[in-house]
């Protein structure tokens, strides 16, 4: 007689390896694929805060965080590019590297490698400067990518892509219908009786009269945080109940309005 095991539905570990990369539309014209945003009208891929070099930054403070973020970032990117081999433009939306000062060894190495990898799959790469990217110019110059200090308006979708740590002082922003930001690393914690787990997510809502999309951070070291528990971006200081969340794990899942989550 086979005894039923309470563990039979339990995953082997908390972090599943297999991913199905079905794009999910989170707003008309904007698709979430894994942790990246794809805009078909402009054929561009947007990645949020990568924070490469995070581990070295902690090492310098005597915290021996193992180096694993970049490996996972590459794995996720390879899976993405296996599905879609080429795009016109890739945007790295701020906080590419972690540290505040001059680029460290790890940052230098990893950012170069990343840009080399990305350039195989895109015609153009633009880095939009985030608040952590203080000394990003040397890297950008070296790898021959474009560095944007404020933000970029996407031609066809009229979306303005910027980091989100400040409201942009840019006419292009004023004309945009949609704003795409990073910076807040949104993640929502779910509880299922016995377990609690935090999942990175996309958020879509409104800010003034524009639609706003918040990207999850594209890194695996920091789990992210619930913006309702203290959002950083000036775009997210109001009530967030009307925002809708899409949680990302092996797929992108629509969880509906925030006001109904917890």
């Amino acid at each position: 007689m086979k005894k039923e095991s309470i563990l039979q539905h339990e995953k082997e570990n908390l972090f599943p390896q297999k991913k199905t990369l079905l794009p999910v539309e989170i707003a008309p014209g904007f698709q979430a694929v894994d942790l990246a945003l794809y805009v078909p009208a402009d054929d561009c891929l947007i990645l949020g805060d990568l924070q490469l070099g995070l581990e070295e930054h902690y090492n310098n403070q005597g915290i021996f965080l193992p180096r694993f973020n970049f490996k996972e970032v590459k794995e996720h990117l390879h899976a993405l590019f296996a599905e879609k081999k080429h795009v016109s433009h890739i945007f790295l939306n701020g906080d590419i590297k972690h540290g505040f000062g001059n680029a460290s060894n790890q940052e230098w190495r990893e950012v170069i490698q990343l840009l080399e990898l990305l350039s195989e799959h895109a015609d153009k790469i633009t880095i939009i400067k985030g608040n952590h990217d203080i000394a990003i110019e040397p890297i950008a110059r070296f790898a021959k990518v474009k560095l944007e200090k404020k933000g970029v308006l996407l031609e066809h979708s009229h979306a303005y892509v910027c980091h989100g740590h400040e409201i942009p002082n840019d006419e292009a922003y004023d004309h945009a219908h949609t704003v795409i930001i990073g910076h807040d690393h949104p993640a929502i914690e779910l509880q299922d009786g016995a377990t609690k787990q935090k999942y990175k997510c996309f958020l879509a809502g409104n800010y003034e009269r524009k639609r706003i999309i918040v990207l999850p951070s594209f890194n695996f070291a920091a789990p992210g945080s619930d913006p309702r528990e203290g959002a950083l971006s000036p775009f997210l200081q109001g009530k967030l109940d009307h925002f809708r969340a899409w949680l990302v794990e092996d797929n992108v899942y629509d969880f509906g309005l925030l006001e109904r989550l917890n």
């Binding site: 309470i6 570990n13 090492n59 021996f64 996972e72 299922d192 009786g193 016995a194």
Partner: protein, 866 residues
Amino acid sequence: MITRLTQKFPEKEVYASLHPLLGGYFQHHFKGFTEPQLYSIVSVHRRDNILISAPTGTGKTLSAFAAVLSELMHLSDVGQLEDKVYAVYVSPLRALSNDIEKNLKAPLEEVQKAAAKLGKEYPIRVGVRTGDTPQNERAAMLKKPPHILITTPETLAIMLTAPKFSLAMKETRWIIVDEIHAIASGKRGTMLALSMESLQRLSPAITRIGLSATVAPLDEIANYLVGNETKGSSRPCKVVDVSHIKQMDMKVLSPLPDLINTTQKKMDKAVYELLDDLIGNHRSTLIFTNTRAATERVVHHLKEKFPSKYEGFIGAHHSSLSREHRLHVEDNLKTGKYKVCVSSTSLELGIDIGYIDLVILLGSPKGVARALQRIGRAGHKLHDVVKGRIVVLDRDDLVECGVLLKNAIEKNIDRVHVPKNALDVLAQHIIGMVVNDPRKIEEVYEEVTHAYPYETLSRTDFNAIIDYLSGHYAGLEVRHVYAKVWIDEATGMMGKRGKMARMLYMTNLGTIPDEAKVKVKIGEHVIGTFDEAFMDRLKKGDRFALGGNTMEFQFARGMTVQAKASAGVPTIPSWVSEMLPLSYDLALEIQKFRKLMQEKFRLKKSKKEILTFIDSYLYVDKNAANAIYEYFYQQFRFAEIPHHGSVLLEVVKEEGMTNFVFHTLFGRRVNDALSRAYAYALGRMIHQDVDILLGDNGFALRFGGKASPEKLISLVHSWEFEKILEIALRTSEVLRRRFRHCATRAFMILRTYMGRTKSVGRQQMSSRLLLSAVMRMDENFPILREARREVLEDLMDMTHAKEIITAIEQGMIKVDITHLDTFSPFAFNLIAQGHYDLVKLEDRLSFIKRMHEKVMQHVNETDAQL
């Protein structure tokens, strides 16, 4: 080989073993030797390893030191007293170190006086070295090492790695460990055991002496003291057990004859009147409570109710008070200025507090050994009768303390738990082992496995730690950043990495985790703080009391908690993180008593017969016996008396919630494991949140909706038990917190680095990142495994919990499932826990009374039907 010394040495022989001038001191001052001294002095003289278990005030210090002083005097006589450390004394408390220094200076001064008359002198140096010792003193010690060095476990570890100072310890003859019962049961003791092996390597002929209060099992503590010769075979050690030599006068007192049909006001009044009465009849009293908050409360209320008697004559003593304050209180006790001192656990260890003629325990001390250790603080002089009174506060307390007293009188002491195979402490210590010179890896393994806590350390685990220390979890190009040691497989050698290795080791050494208070905010306002440990059980929606208000937990960011004001009763009592767990052994004894009572009721014995039985079995007075009878009677009429061999699972629906109350009387540590496993299984069954109410006598699972208790029981299998707990704990606060502690001990987080020290908040945030990274990388990472082990074996008691699950599976423990309309009397205290708060004590008792009335109604109805 551990052997009991059952024969004292005749006085003549003891005198013969001592230097005549020292013998003269004993003769003159004490007219002879105390009991422990008659056993130990000759043994120490003969260089036998020895563990002496004796109460305070029985001459323990000199029973260890007499032979040491004697030998130093002989060496001086023949001009061979050199500038090196002959004896090291280690105690867990800096305050104790200062006391011991004084205790040694007294006989030394007397001896010097007598010697001066003969034209001789004995330049024997006693020195204290702790974390407080200023640099100039340390430098002086290097030039002229003390012959007797008094220190703490941490400073000992540092000195052992000091290239110059350690030379002074190459021929140390004795190491004396005081309060060994207290130190062995934590990771500090684990580290000390390893340090003792390092010292033994430096000085192979060393003799080990342990001084202990009442503790069990004595043989295990002896083994801890001396370590192992070879695998599974202890080094030789003699054990002297004179813990019973002081006469004990112990009683259990109930403030009121009826602990349930009363009001909180009447109860309080009775408690304080009783305390006042006891204090008034004695010269000096020491009161032990179980929490710091209770300590403050008792002092406050006594001063308030009887200002003329207590204002200026009473002091509080606990770990949250400043050191100056505590010293002030200790001094006042010693000089007799204070008539009474109230303490939580801080005065358990033997700091000299002068003459105490009564010890009161307010509420159950939760263990026989602890009760005896606390009561043993009374009657500081040898022939005093040790007087202790346990004042009980509710019916469970009454039963618990009744059984406790019986076991104390019959010398049935509950066993202590010594943590085994702590991988984080091992990692730290190995760094210390190679911080000066490289060593053969094989030898390192051999040395650490001599230490008792590592006698079963597997080669696999050892290798895992070596891999961790050599940075194997990092890629080759960056390994140099993560590695603390280098290993050379070809030569089998390992050594330190980096020029800063010794500095890092010294500034980060230690096993005691930094603790800080968590700030509680409503919006931007800080309302108050609580212990970090309180977070272990807190989840969103839980209500807790702070500063007289009830709050609801929203979320936590670092060391700050966001809450909102709430009406309603707290769901988690505020003292929960401080509460001592009922010892497993004592819990089993209470179960035995319950079984006997169940039998008597089942056989329809008369009240008179049962009262006679209680009277003969327990050592309580008539009122107490009567109260116990009534309590059991009500439980029996209502449900069943859960006992050894049967677990009562009562199912009660109340206020729209279903409660599964498990009457598992095994103590909190076991119940913590059981409750989490069952809560996990239940949560999986119903896909909902399950609240856990945890106690010593059982636990309750509370949830909305329905579930089958039979199915729940059948789902928790013994062969998966550990795995279930692992998964249940994966995302828990308690694991996160313990992981931080382990990561810091294993130097994965360096508290002090590049001259900067991290705040606890900083340590906490980085450890969360570290934990999630480690979990992604390797769930079997040794530091993560150690955090789990610490939670499951040291904090909880998974071993016994698993035994219970197995017994349930095999039918040796029956689970009786009963559906009731209201809670049974034995469940009251568990369910009323949230009402247990300091401020809302009114609510608690009125809640219990309300339930009690329902029970009595039912009991009376059933009685009427008979």
